[in-house]
Assembly symmetry: C2
Amino acid sequence: MKKGGIDLDIGVLDKFAQEIIKEAGERIRAAFSYDLIIETKSNANDLVTNIDRDTELFFIEKIKAFDVTHRILGEEGMGEKVESLEGVVWIIDPIDGTMNFVKQHRHFMISVGIFIEGKGKLGYIYDVMRDDLFYAIAGEGAWYNDKPLRKLTPVKLEEAVIGINASWVTPNKRVNHEKMIQLIRKVRGTRSYGSAAMEIAFVVSGKLDAYISMRLAPWDIAGGIIIASEVGAIASNLKGEPFDFLSQDTFIIGNPTVYQEIIANYIEQL
Amino acid sequence: MKKGGIDLDIGVLDKFAQEIIKEAGERIRAAFSYDLIIETKSNANDLVTNIDRDTELFFIEKIKAFDVTHRILGEEGMGEKVESLEGVVWIIDPIDGTMNFVKQHRHFMISVGIFIEGKGKLGYIYDVMRDDLFYAIAGEGAWYNDKPLRKLTPVKLEEAVIGINASWVTPNKRVNHEKMIQLIRKVRGTRSYGSAAMEIAFVVSGKLDAYISMRLAPWDIAGGIIIASEVGAIASNLKGEPFDFLSQDTFIIGNPTVYQEIIANYIEQL
């Protein structure tokens, strides 16, 4: 593929990305046994920090060996400073859902988005303990392991199940909580899993109909947003504008019908 | 075992219960393939109702063949009317988390509690899609598959992660939501999974520190409450009284330190 001066075979890049994501997952599962967690309970935060950093370093080392010009924007900040999306940029969260990692030993994800000249090309959300991969190649489709993900079908808001943290229906500085209360009364149900990447993976696979957050970082959503467009989910900040990938921003992803209605009738930013 | 005139080998009963729970799980997994759910999307509610009922009938048939004097109180109401806990009573929820069943194809549980002369003796929560069993024999311990579940260790409320639905922090008729808002601001995090049995299984295995609901039925909690006492979790209604097994009631289960503090400082029933 020739693209803005970058010569890349997307198939090769995809194969490489899947390999290192699965290898990173294997390393995390090995580093973290049930007994290890119990023994170091008082140091659980240190443990997760170490595994988080080790995993990010693992990605950096592998990616730089693959192509030294690729840059890495990671949650742990172990890569170089990334102030633009020029060239090839990997946006990586080595462990999304660290509290789940510590307490539940499940429900944490590796999230990876690969951008080429500012455009999302490859997106991955990997459920480490389930060994489950949600992924997409822009323009070619999305998959859940070896099965294609279907295009989302319309759902009425009153039949929707949405991911939202309970905090946002209480008085807060970011959004009119009275409208959020109306929203959760309108929908069929709400869920909260403690991992943005997990909730996004659930939206793109139709297990949730929308997910809303008042503050996310690029690495929380980079993988998911690329999968989203392949299945017909819409993702943006809460103003309906593109998410700002070089900062933090509000976020919503949803089935199109549900997305439109939530933005139009239930979101009032403060 | 001789108990109040009932002659029962608890080990035999446990083995039998595990066998039929796993067989019921296998039947559900077989009845419900990904494609089946998609094809019958418009009839998803009928589908789940049918599988729910079939599963309850399967339990009734098996249990009556095992011992015709055992009685069954099930969510689907296919057993006889149970107005007391005399003798041996099985309290069964064939699918706890039906919305998860329909939309997510995961995160639904079979919950079974076996009571002898009013006392909880055997408790089971089975995660059907993971093939994961949490269970306990009263006085003998609790297990997660083949591993013993450890006694819960103390946790501070500010480090706790609790299961609570977002509705309960909004104005409602059951509980002072202002105090619930204080609670969710105090704790480290909240989760909501859409299956009471799943959230209870997470509390008894230390994956959550408490779970609160304003209205549950006996079948939602019968399995879990028996596991709770083996790991040192406390379960009651929100007045701190024993849950009413012949009706619906409020419910809290938690790590003891967290349980006490929530009941004392954050629950004000209306």
